[in-house]
Structures are given as C-alpha cells and as structure tokens.
Subunit: 675 residues, 2 copies
C-alpha cells in the first residue's frame, strides 16, 4: 500500500481482525488479505450474494472509529441488481462491490461465513460446527480454440486454478459425458462443486446455488432421514419410512436367521433398504424443492446388522460368537456404488462401528454427545432390543452392548403394545387404595379427570406401551404391590380386588376385560420380563463402571425414542440406571441421527469420531464373567436408601422386606447360575 | 552382525550388489538388506516360488570367490515340496529357504525380479520395462477375537502392515461383501492384490497366483486386445473383433453424423462397444485359462471419436470446428464404471488424446516409439481415414492430423477392395511393354510364374487392396503411364492395349472383365484420389517439418496395418513421405496397441506419456494457411532427382515432362484455390 494514498482502518467483527487499506479497496479484498472468513461462490462478480456484510454504525471507542454507512461508497449497480433478483436486507452490502472510503466497522454475519456454529435445539446438547465438505465455485471457462487445442475439462480445471487457486483437482469420469453440454449451455460459465478442495464432484451451467446432503439413521424398524443445506446447515426436509426389511424378520436376530435359512438372502434385504432410501431421497428432494442431482453427500448411522445389510454384507457372522464385523472402520464410497440415486458423484459416509454389537449408531451418539470433551463421568444409553452403553469422559471411554430383549419396547409383555393412540403411557398407583390413574396416548387428560371417558371413547384403552410398562412396574414397587425381588404380594388381594390370582402367582389389574379386549393386567411374568431387561441394562452399566473404577456417574443421557418418552425418575426406581442427580439425567433425543447430521455438515467431525471410536475400549458382555454376577445382583429393585441418595430425595423407596445377608445373596446367585 | 560369528560374502548378479552376512542367513534376507530386486508373494514361506535364484558356479577372480552349490545349505523340505508341486529347474533354489554357508555368487534371473526388461519382437522398437502396478501379497490374518473386537478388514490391513510394511492402504467397499467368505475359506490366509502400494484391489482365499491385464486398441473397424500376465509381462492371449459400431456408420464421420441425426445415439454406440469388450474379455480369459476376476487392469488406445464413444461422451463436438475434446487428459477409472466386467475393482486407463483429431492411439504410438528419447528427427505416421503425424526428437515434438480420406484403404477406388484373398497386393509394370505382373493375397506366386492360374482359380482375382493401389500408381508413374501431374498419357494407347479410353480420360487396364466382375482398371479418377490422399499426408508432414525448421527427416516409422503392408519404396515414389535413407524407413507394427500394452505393464510409462503429450505442440491443419499451400504443391509426383537423393538411388525417377517455373506454379496454386 502506497504511503501517498489516503487509507482507512477496516475492522471486521466478530473476529476483530483489522487493517488499514487504501481508500477504494473492496471489502472482500480487505477480508481476504486479513484472512477473515467471508464466503463467496462467484468470486466477486456480485452474483452469489454470499459475501454479504453489515455496516456497524456508531462510535467504537475501542477502535477509535466512528463508523457509518457513509464510510463506504454508495450502493453499486450490481448490488441493486442483486437486491432486485433476491433480497438485500437493510444495512447489508455485497462486500465484493463495496469500497472503503473511511474508517469502518464491518460485521460478518454467520451465514456469510464458510465455517460457522449452528445452534442446536431441544434435546441436542452441543452446537454443530459447520465445516462443509463441498464448496461451490463459479468460473468462466475459456472457449475452445483450434489454435491451442485442449479439452473442456482441462480448460475448466485451468479456470478453477486461475480464479480459485484450486490445483491438482481430481474428478470422476462420470462427469465427462455431461461436461460439454453444461459448458455450452452456461455459455462457458459454470458453477463447480469441489469436495474437500480436492475433487470436482458436480458442474452446473452458469450460476447455481444450493448443495444438499442427507443424514440417515437406518434403524431396524424405521429409516429416518434429514435433508440439509450443506452451506447453511439448515434442515430443509425430514422424512421417515418403515424399514422394508421388516418383512424378512421383525427384529435383528430374525433377519440374521433369515439369511442363515436362505443363503444369499442378504441381497434381497440390501435391495429393499436401498430402494426405500431412494424413495426417501425423492420425497426429501421434492419437499425441499431441490433436484436429486443437487444432493452431493449422504451419511449413515446404523446398528451393525443394519450397517452390514446396507452395505450388502452378509450379517450372519454378527449372529454368533465371535461376532466379527466385516469392518469396524468408517466407510467412504460413492452413493451410486450403493445403488443410491443422488448426484452420480454423491459420496456416502458410514460412521464406524465400534464392535459386533455396538454399531455406527452408537458412534453417532458419541459424536453428538461428545463425552470425550467433558470431565464429567458421562453415561450414554440407547435402549432397544439391545442396550448400547458408553461410559466415560475425556480420559477414557468404554462401551458395551447388553441384551435387554424387547420388554422395554412393550413386546413380550401380556398387555404390551406399540406406542399408539389408546396405549397407556403414564400411570400412578395410590399406595393406600392401590387404585391406578393413568393417561393414554392421544389424550391429555388423566383417567380421573372429567371428560376422560368421552375423550378416549373412540380409541378405547387398548394396552400399555413401553414407557407405560416402566411406570407401572415402578409404581407397583413404590406402592408395595411387588417386593424388591419382584414378587407380587398375594396377601394384598384381601385389601384390593385389583390383586388377582393367576394360577400360583398374582397379577395387578388396571382395567377389567371388555367385549373388545382381555383385562389389562400386569402379570408376574411381565414383572419378571422387566426385571430381566433392567438387570441386563444395569449389569452392563455396572460392568463399565467397574472398568472405569467409579461408584457413581455424573451425568446420564438417554438416546433414542425410549429415552424421549420415559420419566427418568421411574427408570431409576426400577434400577435401570444407577443413582444420579436427577437434574443430570435427561433425554438426548435421536442422538445417533444427530451424529449422522454432524458428520454430514462438519468435515472435521468424521476424522474425530473415527479416532475416538478407535480408542473406545470395547467390552464383550458375553465373555465377561463379571457381567453374569452383575446381572444376577441387578434383578432386585433398589431399596437401600443410602445407596440411592439422589433417588431417595424424590421417592420413598420401600424398605427391604427381608434383609439378605451378603452370604445368602451370594448363595442365591450360585443357585440361579446352576439353573 | 556379530564379529564372533563366521560370515560369508554374497554377491548378487546382475546387479553386482554384495555384502557379508553371518553363515546361516537366508539369501532372500541378504537380498532385502542389499536392496536387491527379488520378488516374493508369500513373504518367505516357500509357497510362491517367485524368489528363485541360480547359484553361479566357478571361480570369480574379480570377487575373490570360488562359488559352488555347496556354498549353500542343502535343499530344504519346503523347496522339495515346491519342486513337486510346480517345478524347480536344475541349479535353482528358493532364496527364502536357502541359507549361506560360504562365499557365493548368486544370479537373480529376470523373472524373479519385480522390475525387469522385456525384449520386444518384430516391428517393435524398444524393450518394455516391467513395472507392474499390481503386486500380490500372501498374508496370514489374525482370527476374530471377542476379547479384542475388530473388523475382518482391519485385521487384514494389520497383516499387510505387519508382514509387508504396507500402511494406510485404501480399499474399495465392493470388497467388503466377499471379505468374510474369502478369509474363512482360506482359513485366515489370503492373497491380496495391492495397487501401487496404496490400494487393496482384490483378495483371494489362501495362496493365489496370476494377475492379468488387458491392453485394447479400439479402432473404428476392429477392436483388438491382448491379455497379459502382469507379473511376467507375457501376452497370454490375443483376440480381435469387428467394432460393432460399424452398424451405425462405416467410418468416424458417419458415426458422428449418426449422433447428429439421432440425439442420444451415442448411448447405443457406447453400449455396443462396451458389450464387445466384455465378449473379448471373456474370450481372452478362456483362452488364457484365467478367471475374469483375475483381471485387474485394462488400458485403452483409441482415436478421439472412439475414445469419446467408449467413455459415453457425445462425439458431435469432434465433428466440426473447433474440434473440442471433452478431455485431453488421461483417464483413470474403474472398469466397472465403464460397464466392463472384470474384477469389480479392475482399473481402466485411457491414454491421453493429443487434440481433436489426434487421439490416444497416436499417444500410444508415441509411447511405443519413444521419439522423445532420441536425437534423430523421427517421423511417425499412422495412416487411416486421417493420417496422424508426429515429428520430432528429444527436444521437441509436433503433431497434426491430415485428412487423407479412405483412398489408401482401397475405398473410393474403382477396383478397390478390403485386403482379402483375391485382392492384388503387389504389382510391377514393365516400362517397355506396359505389361503388369502381380501377386494376390492368398497366393505366394507372381502372376507370371507357373501354377499361378491354378493357385488362384478358387478365389479368382477380385480387385486391388490398399497396398496394391500404392504400388500400381507408383509403377504407373515409374513406367511413364502417368506424368508427374498424374495425367494418364493417352498417347500410349497406340503402344499398348492396356491404355484404354474412358470418355475424355484414359485408364490402365490390369485385367479384362470376366463374367464375375468388371475389368480391373486404374482410372484417371483413381489416380486423382491417390494424389489427393498423398498430398494431404505429405502436406501434413511438410507443415510439421516447417514447424521443426528441418528440410529432411532422419527416420520414418509407419504405424498400423497400412505401414505393415506397403513397400516403403513405393510410398516414397508416390511422394507420401519425404526423401529419407530407405534403411531408416520401416513399419512400426501396431504401435498404438503396443503403447496400450506398455501402459498396462509399466506404471512409470503412464506418467511419462501424459507429460510428453502435454508438451507435444498440436497443429490444426484446418486453420493453417501453409497447409493449403503445401497440399497444392504436393499433388505432383516426385521428379527432381536432386531433391530425392535417397529415392534416386533405388528407382529411376522420370524426368519432368514440363518444367513449371516458380511463378506459374504460384499461378496454378491461385487458380486451384479459386475453384
């Protein structure tokens, strides 16, 4: 900068970067010089509007500046043209066409930055850092010239190098057949999507906006997907479908069995889930108003069996010891190599699996919850047919999977049902009268509130869903209907007609039979099923706690649908989870899906989760002798008030009806094992 | 090496590398230590036999050694086992199991070296350097362990790292579905093909031998392919088929026209040629006795239109100015992305095109002939419907394409035909009597030799093929039947009945009409067609010579079928090529195909030809004013003895019948241009 020219101080916020520039310098140029993160697709041609800035007006004592809109040259023709075509909010300017006249403070809004934070909502815990894998570049390409023959591709690459300093770019040959048309249609201008600064992945004629990605959670029951704008990070559309593999088997093991019985059967299941992904992608694109070819990335989380079936890998090895994964590494491939029809160059990324029972969905949960960034001993739990459990902090993470079975989902429970209108989801039992009051899905009223009968007349009351089962068993325990060993106290039949004899055991009847359905009862076997499930979960947690050498955890996060619906207090009453400050027990929402979304939007997250997963210690419960001990010990419900200080503050734990000495507990354990 | 242990001097030939090693050191280990190039697939397990060496027996004064078979430990059990299973020639040992006892000289035969020279035969000019892209590695993989869960892939990669120091290997996800089966079938041993030390491309159970590649020359008329052993470089099978695109158009321009008339028609042509490639690959694999999955590489040369159609690119841009290629860069892709069914991870490589009319076939010719490695000014010519011409040496290469038309191939010549049994291919005309004698394809006798009539009775004499046309026109010129301007001298009709009036012009009759066919005559128009073709070729050559600033060339190589069949002397008589020492004019065989084969076998060749092609100066004849001048000047046949010193030594050039002064030549030129 020559001394003789007048110059001006330019301060960019929020970065605080500043410098003196000759009067007349475009702000974008000043920003580039100072390494201020301002986006641009068109390279300063006033087309893309990505480089918008806001003039900060006022006196800025700390910078010694009075900054006004007059510190800049008046609005230019290209800006007016852009404002006509799109919108330029008051105070906004296109930094590429805005020249500095005097000292000024310029604010770069988040959406004008390539890298920025996205504030996450609701159950989500951390903000998402936006580090897009794909960036758009507008270029004007030299026309072919007989005197200097060279290919369209080379001239395109030359333009990218000249205008954007992108060198040694790779490309996919699938681009070649369209390149000629694109360049001629765009009159030798084009917008190029470049991945990680290394690879040309798409080319559109002229100026093009909008590149998208899809984050998918492939669950055994449902496949859920979000379509995101890769530039802003915004979710533009969401959709879910039933996993069509259900027709081959309701749960994971039955799908593995299907392949065992029908060798090669994995092909049908792979095709089925991929076809449903194609349907999802079309729906998402339609809802977001974009083309499938604008979708350049897709990321996946899935449990190991879903992961293998998605990739066309036979899952039979996962059905028996040693539960060997075909790969525990993250997978990078072309979406088209998975028969997923997005942009032909769209890339697919699968988060790494952790172990044979602990999948990429758990990796997604870890990525979303970031226990590795915290000092607190954090317990992450995702409950399904298996519970995936991760425990740890920045120093060490351990993980396992525990075979809870489907009881928590309402399966194998006599009155159990899927969460649907008419299902009991909340329940309270009066400890004196043993009378229940409850709420059903689809109605906001409790059963003892006026209007309840009318409100539920249409659906009826049809059964109990997963979260209702947790509550009813917990309430039965708190009301003294079952003891800490889970035995229904038959002597109460004398006190209440709700205690009903069922052969040699007793049940608790919530509703008598009607013409449409049997009685809704909690039978002794239902309590046993919940005990087995909760013992498995708790044993897994205790196993990890013993690996970590801790007696308590600082924070508990429940991921998945189960976690969103249960009342954590009841989870603790049942002994699903160890005692913990209840303020520190919460739902993580669909943490696995959030993990997929983070991997979609943040390039750095992929490497991070791969490295974290490599370091997670994997515990296989099936070969841990301690697991069996923990399991047997966890069958009983919590009763020692001093062992559950946090829980004891919110509920009255029943006293132990019989005090079991350490020795006889050990004896009991040995008895069970012999069975 | 400890001083206390006795040691021995080991000398490896032909490298001459030497070192002292403790008695008992295996030779392979000594070779590794000295960086002697000895192959091994099994990593010293005595399975693969690739590390064979030969003991050099005798006194080696220069090394101060007496070397005998007794300088090594006696043959071991694994070597005997290998010899039973395969063959171990006398004197050969497996270096991995052969321990040194005393000083010794050990010869490493070429086939035991990873990198070695292959001597090329016949028309081929240079040896091929063998630098295989793919190498096989035998590994024993750790079995899965529940206590330390990790994927099959990771354990495979660990084995490759541990045994072979191959780190950070990439892989294709298409491998995953087969990996489980392969590892279990091989009882946790496998042979892995690794490409360029960077990427796992194939995995076979247990020990596997044999990886292959295919080099393809996609011509407008025929598609020819060689299947090569990637380890030895040997051609294991060869096959050719008609290019099925012929049904869309006989020549290049008619195929381009087909797409112009039928938008999207390139798809059918792409599918057709790819399907024929799949057929070729199956035939080659069958002939060589290998599986398609053993084929890991395929390379291609093709002219620009064939190149674009092979890649699914619309070739219409190549049909008119500015003749823009979609890409002039080499193409690297997966064969499966071209719908070619080899090993699913097989890679395809297309040599770079040079310009819109100068294709990857010319690049192949340049790679095979290596003019860039020579001081001599070398002229490379590949004659087809266009002639591709490259001129230069290590300092500079220039290239162009010249529109010769199909006359040299016998098309558009009245008695012309494809080279097939019954076609005249050689001819001599007695300058006194004007009587011809000739030979036809399928018979070794000349027409004036006894038995000729009987030998050709079955096929008859049906027409003249391309090389025959060159000879007959040249002989007509040497016999004075045509003058240097190509006019048939009608006055000779008085002397010989072979000079026949055809309207206002005259023809030379070789054979009178029969019941089966018309007379075989060379008509005035035929001579004109040859003149136009040869003028185009010569003008292209002159243009390049003027770019190079040379008046003569040192060496001429004719590539392709045309070059293999013509007598170079006649080519020079006609003025197809400039005067040159006839010893230095020769056929290069199918140089383009050889280029494809080199790119298949020598990893370094790919980078080399890409770099050479970038530096070749491309001349577009269509926009070169000088080309038109050269063209007009080249219409006449050579007659100035002093301008053709080399040619004058072998033939008597006819004197000019009329001396054309410079001015009137210029006048003639202007006249022609006005037409």
């Amino acid at each position: 900068m020559s001394k003789s020219n007048p110059d001006a101080l330019v301060v960019f916020t929020p970065s605080g970067k500043r410098g003196r520039f000759p009067v007349g310098t475009p702000l974008l140029e000043a920003a580039r010089y100072l390494n201020v993160d301002i986006d641009s697709v068109c390279g300063g041609r006033g087309i893309c509007g990505r480089c918008q800035i806001l003039v900060s007006e006022g006196e800025f004592a700390k910078f010694g500046i009075t900054s006004t809109a007059q510190s800049l040259e008046p609005i230019t023709a290209p800006e007016l043209k852009y404002a006509e075509r799109r919108e330029l909010k008051p105070g906004r300017r296109l930094s590429c066409h805005t020249k500095v006249l005097q000292d000024i403070v310029v604010d770069v809004p988040a959406e004008s930055q390539v890298h920025h934070q996205m504030v996450r909502k609701g159950a989500e815990h951390h903000d998402i850092e936006l580090n897009p894998l794909v960036h758009l570049y507008y270029v004007e390409v030299q026309e072919p010239d007989m005197h200097d023959p060279s290919g369209d591709l080379r001239r395109l690459l030359n333009a990218l190098e000249y205008d954007w300093q992108l060198t040694e770019l790779d490309y996919d040959v699938a681009l070649l057949p369209q390149l000629q048309t694109v360049l001629r249609e765009g009159k030798w201008s084009a917008t190029v999507a470049v991945r990680q600064g290394k690879e040309v992945v798409a080319v559109w004629p002229g100026f093009h906006e909008g590149v998208y990605g899809i984050a998918v959670d492939v669950g055994s029951t449902t496949v859920a997907a979000h379509l995101c704008d890769l530039t802003s990070g915004d979710v533009k559309a969401s959709a879910g479908v039933m996993n069509p593999q259900i027709r081959f088997g309701e749960d994971l093991m039955s799908r593995v069995s299907y392949v065992m019985m029908n060798p090669g059967g994995e092909v049908s299941m792979t095709n089925a889930v991929r076809e449903s992904l194609n349907g999802l992608a079309r729906r998402l694109a339609e809802e977001a108003g974009c083309e499938l070819t604008d979708i350049l990335e897709i990321t996946f989380v899935a449990n190991p069996v879903m992961h293998h079936l998605l990739m066309g890998i036979n899952p039979v090895e996962l059905g028996g010891a040693p539960f060997a994964l075909a790969t525990d590494m993250a997978i990078n491939t072309l979406a088209r190599d998975m028969d997923i029809r997005l942009n032909p160059q769209a890339r697919a990324y699968l988060l790494p699996c952790i172990a044979g029972h602990v999948g990429a969905d758990t990796a997604g949960m870890v990525l979303a919850e970031e226990p590795y960034n915290h000092d607190e001993m954090t317990l992450l739990v995702d409950v399904g047919t298996n519970a995936e459990i991760v425990l740890g902090n920045r120093h060490r993470l351990v993980a396992c999977s525990s075979p809870t079975g489907p009881a928590f989902e309402g399966a194998q429970i006599s009155a159990g049902q899927r969460a649907a209108a008419g299902a009991i989801e909340r329940i309270r039992i009066d400890p004196e009268t043993l009378e229940p009051r409850y709420r059903v899905i689809g109605c906001d009223l409790w059963s003892d509130e006026p209007g309840f009968a009318e409100a539920t007349a249409e659906t009826g009351i049809t059964g109990i869903c997963g979260s209702g089962i947790i509550e009813v068993v917990a309430e039965m325990y708190l009301a003294g209907i079952i003891n800490q060993d889970g035995v229904v106290d038959g002597s109460l039949a004398a006190k209440s007609s709700r205690i009903v004899a069922d052969g040699r055991t007793f049940s608790y009847e919530i509703l008598p039979p009607t013409k449409e359905r049997s009685a809704i009862r909690i039978m002794q076997n239902d309590v046993r099923a919940i005990q087995l499930a909760k013992a498995a979960l708790y044993a897994g947690i205790k196993l990890l706690m013993s690996y970590q050498g801790v007696e308590a955890v600082d924070r508990i996060r429940f991921a998945g649908a189960f976690g969103s619906h249960i009342d954590v207090k009841y989870a603790m009453v049942l002994g699903l989870i160890p005692d913990c400050d209840l303020q520190q027990v919460s739902s993580a929402g669909n943490a696995a899906g959030t993990g997929a979304r983070i991997a979609l939007l943040d390039e750095t997250a992929r490497q991070r989760i791969e490295s974290v997963v490599r370091d997670i210690e994997k515990i296989e419960t099936a070969v841990e002798p301690a697991f069996q001990d923990h399991f047997v010990n966890a069958m009983a419900f919590p009763n020692k008030v001093d062992a559950f200080p946090n829980l004891s503050q919110v509920v009255n734990l029943p006293a132990a009806k019989e005090v079991v000495a350490e020795d006889s507990a050990g004896e009991g354990r040995r008895r069970r094992r012999r069975r």
